[in-house]
Symmetry: C2
Subunit: 291 residues, 2 copies
Amino acid sequence: MTEPPSTPPTIGVFDSGFGGLTVLRALIARAPQARYSFIGDTARLPYGSKSRRTIARYAAQSARFLVEEQGADYLVIACNTASALALDAIQDAVSVPVLGVIEPGATAARAASTTGDVLVIATDATVQSHAYKASCAAQNLRAFEKACPLLVPLVEEGWINHHVTDAVVRIYLGELTSDAAASGMSADTLVLGCTHYPLLRPLIERAAPRGITVIDSAESTADAAVALLNGPATSADPVNELTQALTMDLDPSPEPFIKCFATDSVEKFERLGSRFLGRPTGKVQLVDLGG
Amino acid sequence: MTEPPSTPPTIGVFDSGFGGLTVLRALIARAPQARYSFIGDTARLPYGSKSRRTIARYAAQSARFLVEEQGADYLVIACNTASALALDAIQDAVSVPVLGVIEPGATAARAASTTGDVLVIATDATVQSHAYKASCAAQNLRAFEKACPLLVPLVEEGWINHHVTDAVVRIYLGELTSDAAASGMSADTLVLGCTHYPLLRPLIERAAPRGITVIDSAESTADAAVALLNGPATSADPVNELTQALTMDLDPSPEPFIKCFATDSVEKFERLGSRFLGRPTGKVQLVDLGG
């Protein structure tokens, strides 16, 4: 058995904004010893209205920044739109393992569902890509997707526990469940297909039909990342080195090592980011990726 | 007196999205004989989170497209953010007269207000620029500005006459009027500092304090554009030619000549644009401005 590396490997986490900090939060809870570099491409968000080609170009730039300039050994694409439309392009752009959020969400839904019928709420762009539908179908699940475009602005306004947000969630979920039932589905699982939505989970659980299991794609992705890190590997393999590093005896409550970068609006990132991360983001550094 | 030109001049109208179609609608109502080219830079919206440098670069590209490729003789910047942050850069980029939306809004507020105290609602970026505050101060008005970031998403969701939107408008206006009063202002005028807000005018008027005059910057800008066109000019001046063209005897209800362009999401533009324009946009053409 080789020596564990002296410093733990770095996990790069990418989002178009700061919603992906919910994925980083879930990763830290599972692997607090790892080093994390997070970039939010805030100058060019939202990706939702952009073409696949443009999203792929932007996402590849951020991925290369994390690998080439921050030394990331693994990438987690904590953005549903980029995962839905550009995962292949990102994998082509870098030489480290890359994990998106869509497939972990679908896998968790497969584990949770007994009827095989799944509801998905997401942004307009993610729904239009039908990436969840395809990933669910590959696991023999039927998915009914609904875009909920007001939820991200409501979270960004800070109306997390607010009667207006409660009303909006009830309208969206009411339409979703009645439309899904009308098309003959008996869904027992609801996937939160946007990294902003976990902040609304209490409201969503109250508004969802009784007995529905809510799947948080941030949690599922963090689980999948840890499973990837713990997967079969030889001792010469960096995955194994990371596994060793993550299981080293360490301070039981270490302060996590996090560096956050944004392409614009550093102040807004620091102000809103802590809501998603569940702790202060620390000083966010401005990065110019061009474009 | 010289002959009127055989075809009326072209007015180029620019917005980051399609909210500026409310300005185009107001222009058509005043000058139905003019030709209009409208471009929405939908691939790069919203401008709100971007830096002044980036906004100036993007806006100048659209302005040059309208002048150099569409032959616009006049430009109307129907975007509060671009008007607030990049009017100078646009004026430097092209050689035709350029009109923004901020100053006409402030001028209309000056005409309407007797107390000299004015409320302004706008997007986050427009409020942060304090462009309305500065433009109002230049006219000896005190302005109290409030960002209302949920109103654009609510309009884009189509919730124009909706109880949720009504609740949101009442919350924003309640906070605005009490904060303004607490700072010693006695406002009698409310400026709609975003081209999406005119669609919510009935809700806003119901929620505003009694006796407040609501100023629609789209209407004010169209008034200012027509005043510019009718201003003093020699017969060799294109402004005078335009004035002549606009006052030619024509079919009393001509179908307006409108060409619409977008940098992405042509389908969404066509679907939502008619709400703002008050008539179908016609076929929208995709344009690549780079970036």
